[in-house]
Amino acid sequence: MTELAIRGLSKRFGDVAAVDGFELEIGDHELISLLGPSGCGKTTTLRCIAGFEEPTAGHILFDDRDVVGLPPENRNIGMVFQNYALFPHMTVRQNLAFGLEMRSVPKSEMAERIARVLETVQLGDLGERYPRQLSGGQQQRIALARAMVVEPSILLLDEPLANLDAKLREEMRFFVRSLQKRIGITTVYVTHDQAEAMVISDRIVVMFDGHIHQVGAPDEIYSRPVSREVANFIGLTNFVEGRVQGADAAAGECRLETAVGTLRCAYPETLDVGREVALIVRPEAISLSAAAPAESGTNAIPGRVGERYFLGNITGYRISCADDLLLQVQDDPWASFDVGDEVWCTFDAAHAWIIPD
């Protein structure tokens, strides 16, 4: 199948750089998500790959062949649009046949391929319906089928699940993922929903303001973000500002001096002593206790419970610590501290991470 390489891609609209210096290699069979807030350039990047936007600079290579300048109809892509863009004046079958007709596929083969793809998306008996007679989820699957029946080199999905209700959206994540794995098609998936990106992707590309901040597997993006933006965008995060006190790259540990005392953190690189950095720790990595922890290896910060909320699987707290530091903590639902209680927030050095600004 196809490998996709994007080299130095930039796209400007007037004075605004929508995408700037985008570099990415996408392997065969891989599913890559472009994740970021709206206006971060992810959709523009996708539209450059599809050919709907002409890049200002850079190259887009399908298996080493530069497709920049090639109109979309000659790129052999499959694309799924946010609102599905099913042709309302054609039946499902005619929608599916459209791309095959453009490729002059013989009639008999066409019927066979349509039947097979309808089977794949589990909508075998809906061929004669019009799109408006289908539910949102069915329309979504037909849109997927229409993009795949032409056996494209690359599959491009632009927020394909955004218009579905929450329950169906979660189901469709797994459907899309398993389908993609079964067919093994190189796929670029644009979304602003971090949970969706986590579930679906082999790797995630996190973008802000037209720039790539980080590329990595979902767990890597979550536990070892490279910038404040990434840490903030993916899940809840506590930031503790501090100064490097000492770092030991060999042991993979770093000590920080902060307003709430010395904190330890796992970090593989050496940082200059005195450098201002931020320590991040996720709410679920912190546990609460009434007494100070006995062992000296863990980080411990004293505070007072400011607010408390119950979410079923967890209980959340907002802990006011020294120096206006507010820690978000998610603890077991049965651990019960009340508003006003004095508590200790403890977390392991291995669960903290440093963002060198």
């Binding site: 694309m79 863009a85 004046h89 019009y130 993009a147 491009l156």
Partner: protein
């Protein structure tokens, strides 16, 4: 604002105890009387009166003679020279041709206007509207200056340049009339098309291209079929306007291009044959309505898929 409207629309609601005043005369009905009165008195009655007029006996000394006849219709239809039917046919052909040309010229403009993101969009929109808002006589006069057979701008310029020796006949013929008709009715084609194309999701065009369709095929297979409601509205509008146009054929065609409206007005104003003129007007209306009806039947099937 709720109560009167509700009472009206629910009609037979059995909640009389809750609304004892339900049956009472509602003063808001007075709002509608002046307009409806005007339309009944000066539109419905006149048209009924015109039907009656078309069956009156002709007279040479008065507007009409006592008694009724179907002779006016028979005279027009059974005329041995087929004079009137030929003019009717010419009228329909002119209408169809004008409509087709307007569609061919209007579609690209409507598409461009619907899809452009230019900051001059509202200026372009005003350009499309502008001919519509300037009187038809003024616009025809502009064409007279341009097309004039002896002193027109085109003829004098081409002769000055030595490209032609003698002036071309650009006006007082079907060509001149067509140029004027298309010009004047083009906005009536563009505006409904514009509305139809604007309501087509641009993602549908991108979807077609992502599936391998060229721009032309995207137009033919996606944009045009989806804009059929606008096409239908625009074509019917232009056709009806053309077959009932009077000023343009007179000014740009003189009397060498005779179509039904010019004939009817001639019968009324010059020959003072009111009953016969009325009959001719109805023959034109019925023929036009028939064409539009058949056209609607034929195109509605194509449109049904959309909606």
């Amino acid at each position: 604002m709720t109560d009167p409207a509700r009472v009206q629309s629910t009609g037979t609601a059995r909640t009389a105890s809750a609304r004892p005043s339900r049956r009472r005369w509602n003063p808001t009905h007075f709002l509608v009387f002046p307009t409806v009165g005007l339309l009944v008195a000066f539109l419905v009655f006149p048209y009924l009166n015109m039907v009656v007029m078309s069956f009156r006996n002709p007279s040479t000394s008065q507007v009409f003679a006592p008694g009724f006849t179907v002779g006016n219709y028979l005279d027009a239809i059974l005329d041995t020279d087929l004079y009137y039917l030929e003019i009717l046919w010419d009228t329909m052909v002119l209408g169809a041709a004008t409509t087709a040309i307007c569609l061919a010229l209007g579609f690209p403009v409507a598409y461009h206007l619907a899809r452009t993101s230019s900051r001059f969009k509202s200026v372009l929109y005003a350009f499309v509207l502008s001919p519509l808002l300037v009187g038809v006589v003024v616009r025809c006069y502009g064409w007279i200056i341009i097309l004039g057979n002896n002193d027109g701008l085109i003829n004098t310029t081409l002769m000055d340049l030595g490209l032609i020796d003698s002036p071309m006949t650009l006006m007082y013929n079907t060509f001149g009339v067509s140029v004027g008709l298309v010009h004047i009715f083009l906005p009536f084609m563009i505006l409904p098309l514009l509305g139809a194309i604007q309501s087509i999701d641009p993602a549908l065009e991108e979807a077609a291209q992502s599936l391998g369709a060229s721009r032309l095929r995207t137009m033919l297979r996606v944009v045009f079929p989806l804009s059929l409601p606008g096409v239908q509205a625009g074509t019917v509008l232009v056709f009806v306007l053309t077959i009932s146009s009077y000023v343009i054929p007179i000014l740009l065609g003189g009397f060498s291009v005779m179509i039904m409206p010019t004939l009817v007005v001639q019968q009324l104003m010059d020959a003072m044959l009111w009953p016969f003129g009325a009959a001719l007007a109805f023959i034109l209306s019925i023929a036009g309505a028939l064409v539009v009806y058949v056209y609607f039947r034929l195109t509605s099937r194509a449109i049904r898929g959309i909606a």
